[in-house]
């Protein structure tokens, strides 16, 4: 209780919550397999409150968990060990915009979609986009270096962060890079914080670079019968068109999305897989040439193209609604990546493992295949309890992850490590690397108060 009183001194007016329902709400993300047991949630509004909080945490040995939109899939924002959750919900101001620099200054709690809209209203574009952009916060995007659906053309969150203001685990405020394009003055600490999953300090403010407004886009959904052909299709389109997105999903994923009845199938013929291709509408003719070539080579069976933005959005929802549509099946999620050239071999390897171990389970494939990123979701059958199901899935993790290690891939392409992939980090990072990462954490967070237990064990 002494802790809570001290917190109340920093955060006035009901900005400390300890009700059980609040603790559960703010203490978890989209993972549902971890215990949730924080001691309090606080809602800072100013940077000096965060500095005071860090000092308090060091004095009282409080563990702090930063919390954004809580749409993460690896438990990075889960508080399961008596932590204090630090919600950025009230630090949601966009406070600066400079049209010459094309840089917007915002607090960490700004919702990604709001930043996208803010850019659009100024004839500009924030190109990092994904299914959860209506809930996720920019601070969380940065802390996980979020990717999403336009990476093939626009890159990751990292590519758009021009400056960061952080409060480290020692309570120091650092302004990294200050929006500069060029800054050759030694270590760029900004990039250490991008993807740090809250283990080094709090990301408090960001300067985000915006792109010129995009041209009108066109979306195709194509039917594909063989997994291998998806990569052929990608190459074929890339020879003719600059792609904004190249996604794929399986028939099962499509069935899950269309089952609700509000979105129609793209075409009546069922196919094993579907590719979604997006490009500038003025490249229509080149894209048509690519389609004809792919059709001639037998890589696609049929396809449709959007004639309006409403249709483009409806076609996109076939892909974007998958995660939500399979949530009811308590999926065991894997977010894997390899180099693009490794994708065909990797796909057939994974297919082999899945068929060997899960012949009786439904496997839902989808992902940003143009980035070498595959989302492999195993769906829980009703006959198994959640514990039995996850226990069974975890048993093949080592085999799956060894495969990724052999191919030089990553066990977490864009979902982060958090709690879920923590113990598997050595499959993607060497002992020397992990040792250095631990030493870096020691420098920024000597008391071990910043999101402890995430990324690697305490």
């Amino acid at each position: 209780m002494e802790n809570i009183e001290a917190l109340n001194e920093i955060f006035s007016r009901g900005r400390v919550k300890t009700d059980q329902a609040d603790l559960i709400h703010w203490g978890t993300d989209w993972t549902r397999s971890f215990e949730v047991a924080p001691q309090a949630v606080v809602f800072p509004e100013r940077i000096d409150e965060l500095v005071a909080l860090v000092k308090l945490a060091r004095e009282y040995s409080l563990k702090l968990v930063p919390s954004g939109g809580r749409t993460g899939l690896s438990g990075g924002a889960v508080a399961s060990n008596d932590e204090v959750i630090v919600s950025f919900d009230r630090m949601n101001q966009i406070h600066a915009f400079n049209p010459t620099d094309r840089i917007v200054g915002c607090q960490a709690g700004v919702i990604t979609q709001r930043l996208q809209e803010y850019a659009f209203e100024r004839g500009l574009f924030y190109p990092v986009d994904f299914a959860s952009s209506g809930s996720s916060q920019i601070g969380g995007n940065i802390a996980t270096n979020a990717g999403g659906i336009k990476v093939i053309r626009y890159g990751l969150t990292r590519d758009w962060v021009a400056g960061l203001t952080v409060v480290t685990g020692t309570g120091d405020i650092i302004r990294c890079n200050r929006g500069l394009v060029k800054n050759a003055t030694g270590y760029d600490l900004r990039h250490l914080f991008i993807g740090s999953e809250g283990t080094l300090g709090f990301i408090v403010e960001a300067e985000i670079r915006l792109a010129p407004g995009p041209k009108p886009q066109r979306v195709m959904v194509l039917g594909v019968n063989e997994l291998d052909d998806i990569l052929n299709l990608l190459q074929c389109f890339q020879q003719h068109v600059v792609l904004t997105a190249f996604e794929f999903f399986s028939e099962l994923a499509l069935q899950k999305v269309t089952k609700r009845g509000d979105i129609p199938r793209p075409f009546s013929e069922p196919c094993a897989f579907y590719a979604l291709v997006e490009f500038d509408a003025d490249a229509d003719e080149e894209a048509a040439i690519a389609f004809e070539e792919a059709l001639g080579r037998g890589w696609v069976t049929t396809g449709v193209i959007s004639q309006s933005d409403a249709q483009a959005a409806a076609l996109w929802s076939l892909r974007e609604n998958i995660s939500e549509s399979i949530a009811a099946d308590t999926p065991y999620k894997n977010d894997l990546s390899v180099r693009i050239s490794e994708v065909p071999g990797f796909l057939s390897d994974v297919d082999g493992i899945v068929n060997k171990h899960y012949p009786d389970l439904d496997v839902c494939w989808y992902g940003h295949i143009g980035d070498g990123n595959l989302h492999l979701n195993i769906l829980k059958p009703e006959s198994l309890t959640i514990d039995e199901f996850f226990e069974r899935c975890h048993r093949i993790d080592p085999e799956l992850f060894s495969l990724i290690e052999q191919r030089g891939g990553s066990i977490s392409a864009e979902h982060g490590v958090g709690l879920l992939k923590r113990d598997f980090l050595p499959f993607s990072r060497s002992d020397a690397e992990i040792g250095l990462m631990r030493e870096l954490k020691e420098v920024f967070d000597p008391s071990g108060i910043m999101n402890p237990g995430k990324l690697f064990s305490e």
């Binding site: 041209k215 009108p216 195709m220 959904v221 194509l222 129609p264 793209p266 075409f267 509408a281 048509a288 389609f291 004809e292 059709l295 049929t302 396809g303 449709v304 193209i305 959007s306 004639q307 309006s308 933005d309 409403a310 249709q311 959005a313 076609l315």
Partner: protein, 250 residues
């Protein structure tokens, strides 16, 4: 049985348009254009009539600039058999469009003409009715259901407060409401085939139609911006503001 479907090229429904700073119209530079959604429903209905072996030929017609060919190609990909562009760079009023379509009607003699009930850009909602008056054929507007049997069209119309079913003799002019159908996606194999489908280009002059403007646009202005909301401290303050500022209660 021929079916004629007039289609309009409009700004895509999802685009947020901006008014030009000089107030002469909308800023359409680099804006995505599409088939007017209600006209798209018209094309879909016509193609369904053909798939049901009721219609023998579906003709899409558009009146406007050369770029309207893009939208006509879409209609061909969706299943229209041929297309006609009445090319003009003038901005035509509904009456002028109706007269042009009357001339096309006289040439083609379709038994069913399916209009969109309105275009989403100018929202006039007049062309179908004017066309029916000029040609003297029956009209079934705001259709949410259409059945063709024995030379008659049974049309369920969406009217204020309910639905009205009318039985009309062919030929007939229909205008589509939103619930008539859900248009399909344009299939890529059909787009390839559509390239070989015929598209005729004519002009109001060739058709002998006077399309002179009878109205003048004086000014185009965006709607006034809404003031931001405020938080009140108490119920009394809320009541006070509703009474004295908003003047919505006595």
């Amino acid at each position: 049985m021929k079916v004629l479907v007039p289609v309009k090229r409009v700004v895509d429904a999802n685009v947020k348009v901006r008014v030009k700073s000089d107030g002469t119209g909308m800023d359409l530079a680099n804006v995505k254009m599409a088939v007017n959604p209600f006209c798209e429903i018209g094309i879909e209905e016509a193609v369904r009539l053909k798939e049901a072996d009721i219609a023998t030929e579906v003709i899409a017609v558009s009146v406007g600039a050369s770029q309207c060919k893009e939208q006509l190609r879409t209609c061909l990909a969706l299943g229209a058999d041929r297309a006609i562009l009445v090319e003009t760079d003038e901005e035509l009023e509904p009456l002028a469009i109706a007269k042009v379509l009357e001339a096309i009607y006289e040439q083609e003699r379709p038994e069913i003409v399916i209009f969109g009930k309105q275009s989403i850009d100018s929202d006039n909602g007049q062309t179908g009715q004017m066309f029916a008056a000029l040609t003297g054929i029956a009209q079934g507007t705001f259709a949410s259901e259409l059945r063709i049997t024995d030379g008659k069209a049974e049309v369920v119309r969406e009217i204020d407060g309910g639905l009205q079913t009318v039985l009309l003799s062919l030929p007939v002019a229909i205008s589509t409401d939103l619930r008539l159908n859900t248009p399909r996606y344009a299939s890529l194999p059909n787009i390839m085939k559509a390239k070989k489908k015929p598209m005729d280009v004519t002009s109001p002059g060739d058709l002998g139609v006077d399309v002179g403007a009878r109205t003048t646009v004086l000014n185009v202005a965006p709607p006034p911006e809404r003031a931001a909301g405020i938080k009140v401290e108490s119920v009394d303050e809320l009541v006070d503001k509703l009474r004295h500022e908003a003047k919505v209660i006595e």
